[in-house]
């Protein structure tokens, strides 16, 4: 139920404000609705090639419908009495009299001033008389309205836009494909290029070969289910990414095991053998190969194979073929032997990369296999050059020093915190790190211990410190 002040001038004023407000809202709503209707009309007129003669009346209808709908919707919105009262106060300069009167009228305790306020307000409203209270304001859409209207008029007067169906939505006859294809819907036309290519790729797919064979027609029918692996993006494997990161961090933590980048793997005998084999077969014509070079190469491979390789059988076959004049067979045997050589070289290189370029100087190789580049007896720790700085072996770097093995966490004092007071908590009791430099002074410790006992007895050392000092000397004894 609407609140009234029972003062006819005020109630009439409020009713007038409501009417005027609805009118203004309807005007604004009509302009807004007209704008959006005009936008829709532009789309319709752009598609008049598809819609034909109905496009123009449809566009006009949409504009009119938008304006009428907007006006109706805006006019039907509710206007409360307080909104009207505040608008009236603002518009007529009534110093909030109308709003206060209306609010007091809605209260159960209106106060002694209510009647006087209403009478005063009614008298002032009566003096003002009817006049326009709400200024006409245009919405933003009203300023933009000429644009779609002009565009709609231009589209209505000009010939239809060619090819507009390609960017229209599907329900308006568009869809982004050639119109002729849609009007002659053969199976070949209906499928895309990927699906058309499906039978060929199906035949090439090694996995598809194991499946029950389908006819090309079946493949075309199942084109919708076909997955084009060439276009599929590889899925991110986050676990392997993390694992790679962990591996790299682990390598960085072991600095003395990082790959030795100064090593020249290309200068090994194995690489020289490969180069010679490549040069020998680079001519491309087998009848031009020198039998003598081929035999030398095979003999060299035989010599290396005896030192740990597994290609002796192939080399033997090759040598026999050379003796028999079957050079093609000899070359095939050499190729097989070279494949095994390459495999061994790859294993060696990958192992060096992972385990670091600094190879252990003592003990047996990791897998017990022969490594190229090692001299006979290279594993002997007593041989010349086994120790860094001695001998003539440039590949030997000797034993890693203790400095490289140690980390900041292995030096210092290991133990537990002792003491009650905060000052003691920073003290650690326990074993000191192995100080090699301190051993020559071990004989002096007894003298210093006696001095310590004298000092504890003579000086005013706090009692809490006595045991701590003695603990320190005890820890020196343990080393």
């Amino acid at each position: 139920m609407a609140v009234t002040t029972d003062a006819p001038p005020i109630d009439e004023l409020l009713a007038r404000v409501r009417r005027e407000l609805r009118l203004r809202r309807a005007e604004r709503g009509a302009l807004r609705g007209g704008f959006w209707g005009a936008v829709a009309a532009v789309v319709l007129l752009a598609a008049q090639g598809l819609l034909g003669g109905i496009a123009l009346p449809l566009a006009i209808g949409v504009v009119c419908l938008g304006a009428a709908g907007g006006a109706l919707f805006a006019a039907c919105r509710r206007v409360t009495g307080f909104e009207a009262a505040r608008l009236a106060d603002q518009a007529l300069g009534l110093q909030d009299r109308v709003a206060t009167s209306l609010e007091l009228a809605s209260r159960p305790d209106r106060g002694p001033f209510f009647a006087a306020l209403v009478a005063d307000t009614a008298a002032r409203v009566a003096q003002i008389g009817p006049r326009r209270m709400l200024a006409r304001t245009l919405p933003r859409e009203a300023r933009l309205l000429p644009l779609p209207l002009a565009a709609a008029a231009a589209l209505a007067l000009l010939p239809p836009v060619p090819g507009v169906g390609s960017w229209l939505p599907a329900w308006l006859g568009g869809g982004g494909t050639d119109q002729a294809d849609w009007r002659s819907p053969t199976p070949e036309n209906r499928v895309g290029p990927l699906a058309r290519d499906a039978p060929r790729r199906l035949a090439q797919d090694p996995f598809a070969r194991t499946l029950p064979q389908k006819t090309p027609a079946d493949a075309v029918e199942s084109a919708g289910l076909f997955k084009d692996k060439a276009l599929a993006a590889p899925r991110a494997d986050f676990a392997s990414f993390l694992k790679k990161g962990d591996d790299r961090l682990r390598m960085l933590a072991n600095t003395d095991r990082l790959p030795d980048l100064r090593s020249d793997f290309t200068s090994s005998k194995y690489q020289a053998l490969l180069r010679q084999a490549r040069e020998l077969s680079s001519g491309g014509r087998r009848q031009n190969i020198s039998p003598r070079k081929l035999a030398d190469l095979l003999k060299e491979m035989e010599r290396l194979g005896k030192q740990g390789g597994n290609w002796e059988d192939e080399v033997q076959r090759g040598l026999e073929a050379v003796e028999d004049g079957l050079y093609d067979d000899a070359l095939d045997a050499m190729e097989n032997a070279l494949d095994k050589l390459r495999d061994l070289e790859d294993r060696q290189r990958s192992r060096r990369s992972l385990q670091g370029g600094r190879e252990p100087q003592s003990g047996s190789p990791v897998d017990g296999s022969f490594r190229f580049g090692d001299e006979p007896g290279a594993n002997d720790p007593e041989r010349p050059g086994a120790t860094a700085g001695f001998g003539s072996n440039p590949n030997s770097r000797g034993r890693p020093t203790a400095r490289l093995r140690s980390t900041p966490y292995t030096s210092g004092v290991q133990g537990v915190r002792r003491g009650r007071n905060p000052g003691y908590e920073s003290q650690l009791g326990g074993n000191a790190a192995s100080p090699a430099a301190g051993r020559p002074l071990a004989g002096e410790i007894g003298r210093y211990r006696r001095m310590m006992e004298d000092a504890i007895a003579r000086e005013q050392v706090p009692r809490d410190y006595h045991e701590q000092i003695r603990d320190y000397f005890r820890s020196l004894d343990e080393h």
Partner: protein, 337 residues
């Protein structure tokens, strides 16, 4: 007596008071309105101005137009609280018995003029605290009521900082308005010379007595205020608080502490008096806007940035009023959409 009669009587009395004061005081219309508004709103006024602009004369003239007692206290550094509130003296009666007798201080008057209030120490300034808020003072464990109406008018000099003690925030907050007495314009200065250098001084008549003032104070409190006007006052006071979530940027940048609820009370009560002086039966947003500066300027405590950049509280409050008014207008604008 009908509300129309009450309001009519108030308007007439106010106009008469103003006219009588104007016989002596030249110009300063805003200051006179502010003082009278605080008088009828049961508040106190801090007058700030350079020496010689008529602050003390204004208070004395006001006391003459009202049939009220006036006590003037010249605040000095050696003034003690007992000099203001009074003390118990050992007196001997006719029979020779010695008893303590309370000797009331100058605070026991209707109108107390605390002249140059910032020259006394904060301890002495604080002697006014209880009286201004509770209208009573406690001496020797006994609470004694002050006469009603009780109206404190304090003056201070803004330019003389040597040997002064700035009023503490608690003391400042008890003043309803802080009015800045500006230097007179050239026409006003001529009029002052004409009036004060003649042989005969202007005579001032008494217009109101204490009961009339108290009756008008009751009428003031009957003036209704609409909720949106009250919300405007509340938003304005809250806008002085940097901690408020909707505080303007200026407040966040330059204000350390905002106005207290007493500031909002001062705004609304002052607005009610202003509405009555215009013969209105309701408070409008214009009333709140007009009284924002005198009611809030001494309640807004600037921070270091505000002090260092010499931000004027009046400028800040004007910006806050504008912001709050725009926010209030925004509540009506959507109606048109």
């Amino acid at each position: 007596m009908s509300p129309q009669d009450q309001v009519g009587a108030f308007v007439r009395a106010y106009a008469a008071l103003r006219a009588e004061i104007a016989k002596v005081i030249v110009g300063h219309g805003e200051i006179i309105d502010g003082v009278l508004t605080a008088l009828f709103a049961d508040g106190h006024v801090l007058l700030e101005g350079v020496p010689g602009v008529g602050k003390t004369l204004l208070v004395k003239t006001l006391a003459e137009t009202l049939d009220l007692s006036l006590a003037r206290v010249q605040f000095t550094p050696d003034l003690m609280p007992a000099d203001i509130v009074g003390t118990n003296l050992l007196v001997e009666d006719q029979e020779g018995r010695k008893t303590f007798q309370f000797q009331p201080g100058p605070i026991f008057a209707h109108i107390v003029l605390a002249d140059e209030v910032n020259r006394a120490t904060p301890k002495t300034q604080s002697a006014l605290l209880e009286g201004m808020q509770e209208h009573a003072v406690t001496v020797g464990g006994a609470s004694r009521h002050l006469p009603t109406p009780f109206f404190v008018l304090a003056t201070q000099n803004p330019i003389e900082m040597e040997g002064t003690y700035p009023l503490p925030e608690a003391q400042l907050d008890r003043f309803m308005f802080k009015l800045r007495v500006r230097y007179p314009a050239i026409e006003e200065l001529n009029a002052i010379l004409d009036r004060t250098t003649q042989a005969h001084a202007a005579a001032v008549e008494r217009v109101l007595d204490a009961p009339a003032v108290l009756r008008f104070r009751e009428v003031v409190r009957e003036v209704p205020i609409a909720s949106h006007v009250r919300d405007f006052a509340t938003r304005l006071v809250m806008a002085t608080h940097p901690q408020w979530e909707h505080a303007p940027a200026a407040t966040r940048s330059y204000v350390r502490y905002g106005a207290s609820p007493r500031g909002a009370q001062a705004l609304v009560l002052g607005a009610k008096v202003r509405a009555l002086t215009e013969g209105r039966y309701n408070v409008s947003m214009d009333d709140i806007r007009a009284l924002a500066a005198p009611a809030l300027r001494h309640r807004v405590i600037l921070n270091f940035a505000g002090e260092s950049e010499a931000i004027d509280p009046d400028t800040l409050i004007a910006e806050l009023v504008q912001t709050a008014h725009a926010a209030a207008a925004r509540t009506v604008e959507p109606v048109l959409r």
